[in-house]
Amino acid sequence: MDTTDPLRRRARRAYELGRLRRAALVAALTVPLLLLAVSCGAGLHLSCLLEIGLVASVLALVWRGEGFEAGALPGLFAGAIPFAASFGLRYSVHGPSTHCDTCHIPTALCFAGTLLSGLAAGAAIALSAAKLRPEWRSRAVPSAALVAVLAGSLGCAFFGLTGVLGVWAGVALVGTPVVIAAAVRSPPGA
């Protein structure tokens, strides 16, 4: 194939831009999470930092395609579990108007709650990985875990860094064995 063919180069650029457009559409799904988290009192700086990381990750994974892309959407859905759980925990104890400064929930309880929701997210990722093509699992599971951790952290940012660490630990506890198992079982060359 003649790689100097200008039409071929334009076609390749069109292809990459098309993939980027698709990635941008999926990344746009994360914006409501940021708006919801910030409007409900999560720290603005931490939330924006997490959102930037989340958008960049989703863009890169979906653009790259194959196993990486296969993990992005399940990761977002799995991340919705700790996101929603953090809302549930906060509102069930304090109602809508409390900020972290005036919150009386013990830090250990925040950590435990976010850790549990992180474990649930990890389990959701493991379940969705079982439905994927075997050769994609070793890439899809870490991708899904990354997206889930960032999306879940947006919700758990209510609880500050403790909440974020909790969800990371939860996803890592379930996700790591799944990644290792997928890597061991995946066919050579995948």
């Binding site: 194939m1 039409l7 069109a14 292809y15 098309g18 993939r19 395609g65």
Partner: protein, 176 residues
């Protein structure tokens, strides 16, 4: 082709070259046949090819890749036909010089053309009615037949009308 297109849709870049090698001649043949070749057909084929790769991620497994590509090409062919029809509807956007099509005239050329047209109309208006009619009929041969004139008679009348028009033009504008 279906399998290659499916791989490309999933983000497998290694399928790109083979899809390109198969898609390009397919689309070029299709647009050449639909538009009768020429620059319009080449443009439509290129646009279709770029659209196919831009929308490769939208390709759904199970569909015929060739049919999907030709659907995109058919849209580009329709667009090319509309563009061609628009060009025909606006004659002042293209000028013919010595039988060759030139690029769209500049505002200055447009103004000169309008002046020439006005001068020609003025000269035709100053001719006798029969002479003006003969010149007009020379543009539309069926008009001569409708007038019931024999071809030889019409040619003679047209020749005389053109001589008078030339003389009148020279009198008014100084040159042919």
């Amino acid at each position: 082709m279906d399998d290659l297109m499916q791989r490309l849709a999933r983000g497998d870049r290694s399928a790109f070259d083979r899809v390109y090698a198969q898609a390009r001649p397919l689309l070029e043949r299709f647009t050449a046949r639909a538009l009768g070749g020429g620059a319009d057909a080449e443009d439509a084929a290129q646009q279709a090819l770029l659209q196919v790769f831009s929308r490769a991620s939208e390709y759904q497994p199970g569909r015929s890749a060739a049919a999907w590509m030709l659907g995109i090409a058919a849209y580009e062919v329709r667009t090319a036909r509309k563009r061609r029809a628009r060009r025909r509807e606006s004659p002042l956007t293209a000028v013919e010089v010595d039988g060759r099509a030139c690029a769209a005239p500049t505002p200055e050329e447009h103004s000169v053309l309008a002046d020439l047209e006005a001068a020609a109309r003025e000269v035709l208006g100053a001719l006798r009615h029969e002479d003006a009619e003969a010149i007009a009929a020379s543009v539309d041969p069926s008009a001569a037949a409708r007038a019931g004139l024999a071809p030889a008679t019409f040619r003679k009348r047209l020749q005389r009308a053109l001589e008078r028009a030339r003389l009148l033009w020279r009198t008014r504008h100084g040159h042919d």
